[in-house]
């Protein structure tokens, strides 16, 4: 069974060189894979943003509306201006026509939409999102970029903490339940799963009713008390108090279904042949859980984690309205109400970039975690 000594020494050196070669091979595959994914994703963002531009402008139809708007604005202005009051009608009309012409030239409405759409596209891709038509940020800026950046932290804070809480609670609870499959705790959690049929804002309404009005413990809405408290600590405490109810609403509405689905996931994967093999091998159950259940399923776990992050970028329109939370969801809601095209497009562009960045990150993680992706993916 033992090899001769010389053969052993040579096989030793050989093993070391194969290990080094396989590492180099893995790295090369990984780099190739990352590069290809990056190019693909940039193309996806490009297409997505362009489609948004075309759709939000209704394929150029919005320009006609804008032209009518400009005409009526200009003629209104000229008519209202006392300086042109006693001008002959013809002269006034040429003046109006000239003013309209200037405005059209400024907005380049005389060029075909197709040409301008590419101009919009390259500006959007450079994150030059332009000015809002109606809305302005709290600090008074009309730059779409400022509007979005101002709202992003509020959304991230609330949805980030809610989703992290739900994710980690449910994964660990699910692991625990999958160990105690069929037990009393398991069955009662499963029985509670349908409670997630109601959305977060629905629970929110009741939470506000109970904890803000019947027993006034917590604020009913907003992000911070008015006027904002002085000092960082006091400010943070106030934000925390305002966060509690929306957080609880989101947690309640998704925790049980999330535990349920993760538990089923772990149950399915703990009956894989290699898990059974690991049990037969006499490995301790902690190790089996870590190396044979969690490790091979890490890719789907991380996928769902990052998909959750993607959902988080956009906030939640109704929940933010119910709790009067100044996030991206309510910004988009207002923008749609005002038909403020640049804000809508800007929101989508930012979202597309964040989405692509998340997916890229996910791809790289996949490749690092799962040799099947890395090696097969680099081969093609």
């Amino acid at each position: 069974m033992t090899l001769p000594r010389s053969a052993q020494a040579s096989s030793d050196a050989k093993a070391r060189s194969t290990a080094r070669r396989s590492l180099a091979r893995d790295l090369r595959h990984l780099l190739l894979f990352a590069l290809r994914r990056l190019v693909g994703l940039l193309f996806t963002v490009l297409v997505g943003v362009y489609l948004t531009i075309v759709i939000a402008n209704m394929g150029g139809k919005v320009d006609e509306l804008r032209l009518v708007q400009i005409r009526s604005d200009v003629s209104e202005m000229v008519r209202a201006d006392p300086a042109f009051q006693d001008m002959p009608a013809e002269e006034r009309n040429t003046l109006i026509a000239r003013q309209v012409g200037l405005e059209v030239e400024r907005l380049r409405l005389d060029e075909p939409f197709l040409l301008r759409s590419f101009d919009y596209l390259q500006r959007a891709m450079r994150l030059d999102l332009g000015r809002a038509e109606q809305m302005h940020s709290d600090s008074g800026s009309r730059q779409v970029y400022d509007l979005i950046v101002e709202r992003l932290p509020a959304t991230l804070l609330l949805f980030g903490s809610a989703n992290l809480l739900v994710f980690f609670t449910s994964v660990f609870a699910a692991l625990y339940l999958s160990r105690r499959y069929g037990g009393a705790v398991d069955r009662s959690i499963i029985a509670l799963a349908p409670s997630s049929a109601a959305p977060g804002w629905f629970y929110g309404i009741f939470l506000i009713l109970f904890f803000a009005f019947l027993v006034p413990l917590l604020p009913a809405g907003g992000m911070v008390s008015v006027p904002p408290p002085e000092g960082r600590l006091a400010y943070a405490a106030s934000v925390l108090r305002h966060m509690l109810l929306p957080l609880a609403a989101m947690f309640l509405s998704s925790i049980f279904i999330s535990i349920y689905s993760w538990r089923t996931f772990f149950l399915i994967h703990s009956s894989e042949d290699y898990v059974e093999m690991a049990r037969a091998k006499g490995l301790p159950s902690k190790l089996i859980e870590r190396r044979y259940i969690l490790r091979p399923t890490l890719s789907p776990i991380i996928t769902s984690f990052l998909l959750m992050l993607i959902g988080l970028w956009s906030g939640a329109i109704i929940l933010e309205q119910v709790f009067n939370w100044p996030g991206l969801g309510s910004l988009l809601f207002q923008a749609i109400g005002h038909r403020d095209t640049p804000v809508i497009i800007g929101g989508v562009v930012i979202f597309a970039y964040l989405l692509a960045a998340t997916v890229f990150f996910l791809d790289i993680l996949y490749a690092l975690l799962d040799p099947r992706v890395r090696i097969e993916g680099g081969k093609q």
């Binding site: 069974m1 069929g182 290699y274 690991a278 037969a280």
Partner: protein
């Protein structure tokens, strides 16, 4: 007689709880294996072969209803050991299992060499280097190139994976390796080379084997002894040569007649009927419903009757008259079992 056998199994039972009732997958199985011996457990699908293997290794499903019987390894009653001791002292280091569907028995995200070395690293706390060196040795033993140590399972073909799992089973030099259908998913050539590896391991290392299969032809290559399983019971346990030449149980005879052979005039015979449900096994002999030689006594469950040395048959045909539960004794053939009580 002092018990010289390596493994001794007495009255082993495994019952599952299902929605429809208790399934008696393994029901009173007894056999023994000498050191260096290969026992083939033959049986149709669903007769409880795999459950038998899992019971021996204590890899039990969640819905176990009852586990019973005594298992003795080298004079130590391992069935009485607490789980933790069994895991540390017996599993893999003394007894290893190559499971059915070992195509998927390798962790997809761990390199094959590391997986083969894993039992040594974890159970014996060997340093990484030493464990990997030992893994390289068993790789050579099962005929796998060392280059595959740093590969992932999906980069290996089915036959290579089977070899890798076999290497994993042999890595801790166990006394006994249980192989559950090790070749049934492979093509004939790969089957043959895996069987050759097994034969070599048996000859060179003196490892004992339990080979579980439904394939009579393949099993004959390795077998020293044969145990034929039917509906959760062993109906015949005997020497391999005797089993293949003059089987004693009617089921054994019919099974041998169903195997196609070269240069054989008559067509292979199939066995009419279905095995009984393990939910409600019949009260008498479990094979009675399909047996052409059934007679009155068959309404009573036959014990494992000794025929020769280490040869037992669960059939009333081989009972001495006074051992039969029915006074008029067994008739040789043809009678319908219409006995009523």
């Amino acid at each position: 007689m002092a018990d010289a056998s390596l493994l001794r199994v007495d009255d082993l039972a495994l019952h599952y709880q299902t929605r429809n009732g208790v399934v008696r997958a393994v029901d009173g199985v007894s056999f023994d294996i000498q050191r260096g011996e290969a026992l083939v457990i033959l049986g149709e699908s669903g007769c409880g072969k795999s459950s038998l293997a899992k019971t021996l290794m204590r890899v039990l499903p969640r819905n176990v209803h009852h586990v019973g019987g005594r298992v003795t390894l080298d004079g130590v009653e391992i069935s009485a050991l607490p789980d933790e001791r069994f895991r540390r002292d017996v599993q893999w280091s003394r007894m290893a299992l190559v499971m059915q569907a070992s195509m998927n028995a390798l962790n997809p995200v761990v390199k094959v060499g590391a997986q083969v070395a894993e039992p040594l690293r974890v159970l014996r706390r060997w340093p990484r280097r030493r464990a990997l060196e030992r893994a390289a040795e068993v790789f050579a033993l099962v005929g796998l190139s060392n280059d595959f140590m740093t590969r992932y399972p999906f980069e290996l073909s089915g036959g290579m994976r089977q070899r890798a799992v076999l290497a994993m089973a042999l890595v801790a030099e166990p006394d006994l390796v249980i192989l559950d259908e090790p070749t049934s998913a492979l093509d004939v050539l790969t089957q043959a080379s895996i069987m050759n590896v097994l034969k070599r391991v048996k000859r060179e290392l003196g490892t004992s084997f339990i080979l579980i299969t439904h394939d009579v032809a393949t099993s004959s290559e390795l077998a020293d002894r044969v145990a034929l399983m039917y509906a959760g019971e062993l109906v015949e346990v005997c020497d391999a040569r005797r089993f293949f030449s003059e089987p004693a149980h009617p089921y054994s005879r019919m099974l041998m007649a169903s195997v196609p052979r070269l240069r054989q005039r008559e067509r292979p015979q199939s066995i009419p009927g279905q095995p009984p449900s393990l939910l409600w096994p019949p009260a008498g002999c479990r094979f009675a419903a399909r047996c052409p030689e059934r007679f009155a006594s068959c309404d009573h469950s036959p014990p494992a009757l000794p025929l020769h040395e280490r040869h037992r048959v669960r059939c009333w045909l081989h009972a001495l008259d006074n051992a039969s539960p029915v006074s008029d004794g067994p008739r040789s053939t043809g009678e319908e079992g219409t006995h009523d009580r």
